[in-house]
């Protein structure tokens, strides 16, 4: 029986749930097993599933869209997590629902970033507002909001450069971008997505905390690259701590490789 709990701890830790959260879950499970007098391992694992579902199931998982005004979706996150690709996927989803979509090439820093979003825009027939590489992202975003309003766009999706949370100047730039949007649009963005790579380890928590400190209105998480062997377990302590829902999961590089977050499916990926 000790072996059962040790194996469970190993499964949880190796899915990146983190040692402290894993130990806590095992501790809680032991109490529940004792209290409910559970004898079979299947039932115990079912209980563990319930414990985890309780953590990750948050009620506001719907996509926020304004009725008669422009909706703005801002995408932020660490370098290389999949922001630009996810914008293409979400843009495609919204367009398929009959909404008028526009992209804003807010990453004016990285080589080929503007071109990358333009290629997506072209293939999806979604207009892209951009300026020169090296220009001020706030200026591009300002232009994009003006253009979106002029062309009666329903949802404007804004791409930003990847950034590490310990880079103070980049955190400041992100704050400024958020301020510019609120000033130009007269309201907070309908969605601010923090995009997270499922393969990230324990640094994900410190990273998300710092992003939220600088952009308190983050409305949702998007977990990418769940099509590999990475389990995305760090999302569990993340949601527990920050109380922000996962609104989408991404399972591949194609435009259709995006799904709504289903807690049971996510946990099945971890517990099998």
């Amino acid at each position: 029986n000790d072996l059962f709990y040790d194996n469970l701890e190993e499964i949880l830790v190796t899915s990146d749930i983190g040692i402290k959260t894993s130990m806590e879950l095992v501790r809680t499970l032991k109490e529940v097993v004792k209290k409910d007098k559970i004898k079979e391992t299947q039932k115990a694992i079912e209980k563990l599933r319930e414990l985890i579902v309780d953590i990750v199931k948050i009620n506001n998982q719907k996509l926020n869209i304004s009725k008669d005004e422009l909706s703005i979706y801002l995408f932020i996150g660490v370098n290389g997590v999949g922001k630009t690709t996810t914008i293409a996927k979400v843009g495609n989803l919204l367009q398929k629902r009959g909404l008028k979509v526009m992209f804003s090439a807010g990453d004016t820093f990285r080589a080929g970033a503007i071109e990358q979003l333009k290629v997506w825009g072209k293939s999806l027939e979604i207009p892209v507002i951009s300026q020169q590489e090296g220009s001020d992202p706030a200026a591009v975003i300002f232009d994009s909001i003006e253009a979106a309003k002029a062309r009666d766009i329903d949802v404007l999706l804004i791409d930003t450069a990847g950034r590490l949370h310990n880079k103070k100047n980049l955190m400041e730039e992100m704050k400024k971008i958020n301020k510019v949007i609120q000033r130009e649009d007269g309201k907070k963005p309908e969605e601010i997505f923090l995009v997270i790579d499922s393969g990230t380890g324990q640094n994900a928590l410190a990273s998300a905390e710092e992003f939220i400190k600088n952009v308190p209105d983050i409305t949702g998480l998007i977990l990418t690259k769940l099509d590999g062997t990475a389990k995305g377990g760090m999302a569990i302590p993340l949601i527990k701590e920050l109380n922000i829902p996962i609104k989408f999961v991404c399972l591949g590089e194609g435009v259709k490789d995006i799904d709504e977050f289903i807690p049971e499916k996510f946990i099945e990926g971890i517990l099998g």
């Binding site: 040692i19 820093f109 080589a111 080929g112 310990n166 640094n203 990273s207 062997t229 990475a230």
Partner: protein
């Protein structure tokens, strides 16, 4: 930090005189937790703490006056040894041109590191040549081209080709005409679970016969690092590892896991987005980072 935690754990014990085996075991639990929080793989942590326990329960530690300091030193030395030797300089010599493949998961930093490596080699008076072999990602070739132009390094790519082997072999013949001595091939990001993409890499290796395959891994990678290392090494075969985004504050335990699972040398550390932010590997720097 781990060293602070160990100091604390052992300062309670110093007053007792000799340490018992149980005392060492309980302090080693702190080491385990700290290493797991630093993203070192679960199994690697188990084997590692077993080794530490054998050394810590040895005679000289138990009779020492500052057991905490002793254990920290053992952990640090053991980490440094595990990580392998430091890299004094990049040795890409022998065959000319020397052909390097940059491989790894999506978004790990291959394209950026390809540019950085070319820049580093140019500073060493080498003549590097870049080949853009990522035919999938939108604007991947443009991205590499911008980097190549920035550092004035020759590059070959073909936006109209869907044949990776052709692109690479054509690039090599152009590099030869250019008298380049090192060729860096930037490949598409891929998942080790994706058989067709792994096959593409296996076939590319068979036909091009590169001299060095560098696995590029994101420094923030968690427990999955062992799977990445194991699968890429077993299916394709890698020669060394580059770890990126180490200018973040992730503790970098994935480095330990990669070294342990592949046995290959960690050579390069990405320390930023700029083209000159590539460093050679120093095990003691990484060890103290993991220890916090």
């Amino acid at each position: 930090s781990l060293s602070e935690k160990l100091q604390k754990a052992f300062s309670k014990l110093t007053g007792k005189g000799r340490l018992s085996e149980d005392d060492v075991i309980s302090a080693l639990k702190e080491v385990q937790i700290a290493l797991l929080e630093a993203d070192v793989n679960y199994k690697v942590v188990k084997d590692f703490t077993k080794k530490i326990k054998e050394k810590a329960i040895g005679k000289d530690v138990l009779e020492s006056l500052s057991p905490g300091q002793q254990v920290i030193k053992i952990v640090n030395d053991e980490l440094v040894e595990l990580l392998g030797g430091k890299i004094d300089k990049l040795e890409f010599s022998g065959r000319k041109p020397f052909i390097i493949f940059m491989v790894g998961l999506q978004g790990s930093g291959k394209t950026t590191t390809s540019g950085k490596l070319a820049y580093m080699l140019k500073a060493q008076n080498k003549k590097p040549f870049l080949i853009g072999a990522d035919i999938y990602r939108p604007a991947a070739m443009e991205q590499l081209e911008v980097l190549a132009k920035k550092i004035d390094v020759n590059i070959f790519f073909d936006k109209n080709s869907k044949d990776v082997e052709n692109i690479v072999s054509e690039g090599i013949s152009i590099a030869n005409k250019n008298n380049s001595d090192i060729i860096i091939v930037d490949t598409a990001g891929r998942q080790h679970l994706d058989d067709s993409m792994m096959d593409e890499l296996i076939n590319l290796k068979k036909s091009i016969k590169p001299d060095e395959i560098i696995l590029v891994v994101d420094g923030m990678t968690g427990q999955d690092a062992v799977n990445i290392g194991k699968e890429f090494n077993e299916k394709v075969g890698i020669d060394s590892v580059a770890v990126t985004k180490m200018d973040g504050d992730s503790r970098g335990g994935a480095v330990i896991s990669l070294r342990q699972i592949t046995g290959k040398q960690i050579k390069l550390i990405g320390m930023g987005e700029k083209i000159d932010q590539l460093e050679l590997f120093y095990p003691d720097r990484i060890a103290s980072r993991i220890l916090g």
